[in-house]
Symmetry: C2
Subunit: 207 residues, 2 copies
């Protein structure tokens, strides 16, 4: 029987990585749950509890070796591998993602990009040449790609998601503000500036 790790703990590991990256860039070698909590605005107990689901990474009395914990968390998240990602939509946003250095540097490489606009197909952005949407299925299956990013206008998002799922994609990062429905074995994460802004303006009084 597998120990059941709460998804909410998994979801915080990338934030811990972000804080560790900060410490590493400052040349700091050792940290503590207390210090990490201060950086992240959470609690030391929560960080220790979260980490305890995955193993023991620290030393009593001393704390955590920054580089070691970084490596371990990347391993746990499978972020120590290089992942191939497909991008659908080569508009302004797709263009920005193709130029995003951070993604490739952190192991998520966009290796194929698609658009239905004949003007764009065949052009090169960053390291990839934009292909016609019709090439999506073959490309995904040949390369065995499981990660996709949707950066198409809202009206096309559902259709594209369906095509990606059909082609075998297992995880979709969706930049369109559209609720997707996918099979149980496919994950979707949404990212939408308006959702974040709405959340924050709730707390801002009208003037």
């Amino acid at each position: 029987m597998t120990r059941d790790i709460p998804d909410i703990a998994v979801s915080r590991l990338p934030l811990y990585l972000r804080a560790l990256g900060h410490l590493e860039s400052n040349g700091q070698q050792i940290t503590s749950s207390k210090e990490l909590a201060a950086i992240l605005g959470s609690s030391a107990a929560q960080i220790r509890k979260d980490l305890s689901h995955f193993g023991e990474f620290g030393k009593q009395g001393t704390g955590y070796h920054v580089a070691h914990l970084n490596r371990q968390l990347r391993r746990i998240l499978h972020a120590d591998l290089v992942w191939d990602v497909v991008l659908v939509g080569a508009g302004h946003l797709g263009n920005a993602l193709l130029h995003n250095q951070g993604m490739a540097r952190r192991g998520y490489r966009i290796v194929a990009a698609f658009d239905h606009d004949p003007e764009k197909v065949g052009t090169r952005i960053g390291n990839v040449i934009i292909q016609n949407n019709q090439r999506m299925r073959d490309e995904i299956q040949q390369r065995g790609i499981r990660l996709a990013i949707i950066a198409v206008p809202p009206p096309s998002a559902r259709r594209v998601a369906h095509q990606l799922v059909e082609a075998g994609v297992k995880a979709i990062l969706n930049y369109s503000p559209i609720a997707l429905s996918v099979p149980d074995d496919v994950m979707v994460q949404y990212t939408d500036p308006v959702t974040h802004l709405q959340h924050m303006t709730y707390y801002l009084q009208d003037r």
Copy 2:
């Protein structure tokens, strides 16, 4: 004494808006907590519970009037207002945000954008003319802007955040994968594709 509404309930209202938008675009006039739950992959009880923090929006036996609930949620989130937003960083990502139709259409208007690159300053992207970073403080204060988006490269993010806070910004949407520290009365939301991808690859087996 103010009733205390959980932030987690607030954070789901934008998702409910997203689902309502979908129903509205299909011309559907009435919905139910059950149907919304199916769209969002949550539970009917949770949706009713969440909404109950803010008022009574439905009719027993019937459900919710889509347009009415949409209006009410937008009002609660202050998303029925038009908000002015400043953007810092006019690179590929800033460019994409300036061209993003959805933001303006949903009431979040980028009214000023800044960059430190002299090549960019003075050029027009979408409806705004890029200004030098040095103009940030004045522009924010003169217009009384409280919302900002950071889309600068990681090394500059902290400095920019500091400048925004100094100028009076109260809510920051941070596109750089950098943990910011800000005063208690300033909100920060992070958005970073790698964080989402790492969360998902945890569940994908290596092959």
